[in-house]
Amino acid sequence: MGALDSLRALAWAELSSIKTKDELVLFKSRFLGKNGQLRQILASLGEMEIKDRILLGQGANKLKEELEEKIAQKQIDLANINEQTNLKEIIDITEPGLILAKGFSHPLSIIASEIFDCLSRLGFEKAQGPQIEHDFYNFEALNIPKDHPARDMQDTFYIEKNIMLRTHTSPVQIRAMLAKKVPPLKIMSFGRVFRKDEDVTHSPMFHQIEGLYVDEKVSLSDLKGTLETFVMSIFGKDASIRLRPSFFPFTEPSIEVDVSCFLCKNDLTCKICKGSGYIEILGAGMVDPEVFHACNYDSERYSGFAFGLGIERIAMLKFGISDIRLFFENDLRFLHQF
């Protein structure tokens, strides 16, 4: 009995001084392990008398249970202490984060991809054509014959007599219709276009995006619905449109599309709409039968609509930029704002 009592006293003393989980593991194996002290005592049972043996055996089992219980309790205590110390750590969360390099997309790219996203949801597929164009694709097939006054609307840069920098993205429509001989066709084209003009709101190079949809029974109502969806997607769901008759050689009827001013409500001093309540943003219309003829489409069977707009203008309106040249200076102080 004496052996058990002294073992118990020893164990309690050691246990109370344990501070870590590792120490506890060692303690457990020293007292309860295969070659632990309790086992050693039990090993001596064989030499004892039967009465003592039972007594000692019972005592040893009792001690074993006590030890297991205390060890389990100690484990919980240690975990609690551990958690409390861990949670005591406090950092200054107002210290600055690590400064990692971060670049910026160009504002024109941002607007262009917003428009792409909207138009692809509407089922328009991207198409792309060259930027140095033949007269045929840029003008003639679009119902702008030579010596037509409409050519003056788009002052052109020439490379050769009939080779020019495209003045709009519309030649891509012609290319797409000629390539896909049978409608339906639903495309958008985006890219650089060039016109001889340079001032605060005009740049000799700018970007256009254009949509074209040709199929049986395409009507003006399809165009209107598309434009409304488009405008709401770009200018917010409160935006509305106003359609005005206009003239483009390649559409009939031709429409100028205004969007309701997002800055003011008919404020005569409004810098953006100048009090009209509307801002001109894009041109549109139903594809002129002459254009279909040039592309060998049956204009009796098929109809279609087209619309186009300048990315710079939208970006200037949306970001409040007043000088178009800022887009092409690539000043980091400008670019890092987007």
Partner: protein, 713 residues
């Protein structure tokens, strides 16, 4: 549900010229999915059995009659009708029994007949065969007939032993009521169920005798000693049946049909048909005039359909939308025309078609009859072929490289597509200048030629920003560059458009992604960016798997000749990178070192693997070993790594080999460098042991020492 072809023949004369394949096609086309077809029986009883998967809305199709109706409409064949009413030999039914329905909402209609003097025995072979073909086990003639009528007409029936029901005098009273709380019933399956108030039961004076619509009670069931029977034919509310069947986990052929809805107006026909068959097959005598309770009658509803709307909605041509044909097919389905008002036709929907209540349901029925193959393919929303006009990969390349560069700190720039001629000529060797494209009428000579590269513009931007005291300038641009063709294309040629919209152009127009790095950067930093741009598209630069090579065979004169490289995939040049040529740097007045690269979008698109194939990875532990070699400057890193290939079967355990540190210092000796190499070894089929790893490393070291004259540090 299983459907027997022989059985269908009772309803339709297929005229023998229809194969079971054609019938199967018709079933599928009508929306009755054929899961499989099997041959059943031999000789005279040979049969073909269709296993159909009937959608839950088509309660009416859970019978041979229902399926026959569909086939008649499909093949334009008449539906055969036959005598259903029995020969009535015994006394009046109402003298034997009466019905009491507690709530007409629970049980819409309940009808019975009594048959007296039946002899219970096995069914005749034809009957047994039909049941077996449909997967139902024959039991005895009465039960078999009730099952037969169910499979035939979709009406579940139940037969009670008349003599086991309680009587007042010799009249029995049948109650259709909710169970009393804790009422119990011993069912045909020998299970005793404790019932709830929600459960609907059939009861006599003494208590429940059947779980309505689900299963009969054991006590009142047909046994060998049965002589007189009551046949029940009813229509129960779907909800009760579903709830009870679900709660008790009991799904029977009967409950399956009641859950989906059984037409109250078919109740009597089926009862009569069963009575007739019993009279024919057994010796039983049918009582006169069935007794029934049908308080709230179900009337056919009328639904209108605007023809033009249906045609447009379904995208059918005028030719494939024939009103007369459609109406004829509808008649075959039991859907009769009642009126034509304006452009709409009004149809009377039979009460067994629970699924037709709205115009759109009729439109669906229309296309089921006309067939989806007649719908015109018109791609309104999207063109037939996405990316018909542009290279899909090119779009992805531009987008992903841009996103990566932005994340790496680059600013996106956009420059004019024209520039000053003498400035651009700085970037070209004299023989390349002929390919420049002049603008005849430029706004000013600042915009005189089309750009052959995006880099001059980006360098202009660097110069501009340096004047604004910017120290670190990382810029990139995506855009088209221009060069004259060898042979000028002055006239349009529309044929060329068929391959690519951008063909048939005057100039060679190539889309590039170009970037400049100005600040505290070096060649390896830029190379890392370039390699990552390529890795985005599964183009690899790691030593063992690389498909990208760097070569210093440049023609561009704007790079430092000793610090620049062409980037190749096989023999295809994807782009170039390097340090800006010092003479351009000087003439532009630029400060600090500038590194730059340009990549062709189209070339990357052509080079990138189209599909990614997963390679199983080893699940065994890997070992990494680092070795530092002291080498002469002349030994190129690539040569050093290549020496690993001299070890036989090195691929078996070498997973990766890479240089992780290069170090030069006077202490190493003149013209010396230290190159630290890291090797990762791993086997696909075992854990490598120390000895083989050591042996492999030792072998590599020996080879390096021997071939390079280098040593270990």
């Amino acid at each position: 549900m299983k459907v027997s072809l022989n059985w269908l023949n009772d309803y339709i004369d297929f005229k023998n010229d229809l194969s079971h394949k054609e019938i199967s096609k018709a079933l599928v086309s009508a929306g009755l999915e054929v899961e499989h077809i099997e041959h059943f029986g031999e000789g005279e009883s040979a049969d073909v059995v269709f296993s159909l998967n009937i959608t839950p809305n088509r309660a009416d199709a859970l019978s041979h009659l229902g399926i026959a109706r569909e086939l008649c409409a499909y093949f334009d064949l008449p539906l055969r009708s036959f005598m259903l009413s029995p020969v009535e030999m015994a006394g009046l039914t109402h003298e034997r029994a009466s019905i009491d329905i507690e709530d007409a909402e629970d049980c819409f209609r309940y009808a019975i007949r009594v048959v007296e003097g039946v002899k219970i025995c096995e069914s005749p072979d034809w009957l047994k065969n039909r049941l077996l073909a449909c997967g139902i086990c024959p039991i005895n003639n009465i039960v078999d007939i009730t099952n037969y009528v169910m499979l035939s007409r979709g009406q579940p029936l139940h037969a009670f032993d008349f003599d086991k029901l309680s009587k007042e005098g010799n009249r029995t009273k049948i109650f259709v009521r909710r169970a009393k709380e804790s009422e119990e019933i011993l069912l045909l399956n020998h299970r005793s169920e404790k019932l709830l108030n929600k459960d609907l039961v059939i009861a006599d004076q003494n208590g429940p005798v059947a779980l309505a619509g689900i299963m009969g009670g054991f006590e009142s069931s047909i046994s060998e000693s049965t002589e007189n029977i009551i046949i029940e034919s009813a229509s129960f509310n779907q909800k009760n049946i579903r709830m009870t069947a679900k709660r008790l986990g009991l799904s029977t052929e009967s409950s399956f049909r009641f859950e989906r809805g059984v037409d109250p107006n078919g109740v009597l026909d089926s009862l009569n048909y069963a009575a007739r068959l019993i009279a024919e097959i057994t010796t039983g005598k049918v009582t006169r005039e069935p007794v029934e309770s049908y308080k709230k009658r179900f009337e056919p509803i009328e639904v209108g359909m605007r023809l033009e709307r249906a045609r447009e909605f379904l995208g059918l041509s005028k030719e494939s939308f024939d009103e007369d044909v459609l109406r004829k097919k509808f008649v075959a389905l039991g859907i009769e025309t009642v009126a034509k008002r304006g452009s709409a036709i009004y149809f009377r929907i039979p009460t067994f078609r629970l699924d037709i209540t709205r115009e759109i349901d009729l439109i669906e029925e229309t296309i089921r009859m006309i067939g989806f193959d007649k719908v015109l393919s018109k791609t309104v929303g999207n063109p037939q072929n996405e990316f018909l006009f542009i290279d899909k990969n090119s779009e992805k390349i531009k987008k992903n490289i841009s996103a990566y560069l932005v994340a790496r700190g680059f600013y996106e720039a956009i420059n004019y597509a024209f520039n000053q001629k003498d400035f651009i000529e700085l970037f070209l060797a004299s023989d390349q200048r002929d390919f420049l494209i002049d603008i005849k009428n430029p706004l000013s000579n600042r915009y005189g030629v089309m750009i052959p590269s995006l880099l001059p513009g980006l360098l202009n931007n660097v110069s501009y920003n340096q004047r604004n005291q910017e120290k670190e300038i990382l810029l990139f641009e995506t855009g088209v560059v221009f060069l004259k063709r060898q042979k000028e294309n002055l006239e349009p040629n529309q044929k060329m458009l068929d391959q690519d919209l951008s063909q048939d152009s005057y100039a060679l127009e190539e889309e590039m992604v170009s970037a400049v790095l100005c600040g505290n950067f070096d060649f390896p930093y830029m190379k890392g960016i370039v390699e990552n741009c390529l890795k985005l598209f599964n183009l690899k630069t790691d030593f063992l798997n690389k498909n990208i090579y760097f070569c210093s065979d440049l023609k561009e004169v704007y790079f430092h000749p000793g610090m620049s490289a062409n980037i190749y995939y096989r023999d295809q040049k994807l782009g170039a990178m390097g340090k800006l040529h010092p003479s351009i740097k000087e003439s532009m007045g630029l400060s600090s070192d500038i590194y730059m690269f340009e990549l062709s979008v189209k070339k990357i698109s052509q080079a990138m693997p189209k599909e990614i194939a997963y390679i199983p990875f080893s699940r065994f532990p890997s070992v990494e070993r680092d070795i530092a070699f002291l080498l002469d400057e002349e030994i190129k890193v690539d040569n050093l790594l290549s020496l690993i290939r001299e070890i036989e079967k090195y691929q078996e355990i070498l997973r990766d080999i890479k240089v992780f540190d290069i170090y030069r210092q006077d202490a190493l000796g003149p013209n010396k460098k230290s190159v630290a190499v890291s090797l990762k070894l791993q086997s696909n089929d075992r854990t490598l042991n120390e000895e083989e790893v050591d042996a492999f490393i030792a072998k590599y070291i020996d080879i390096v020492k021997e071939k390079t004259g280098g040593s270990i540090r």
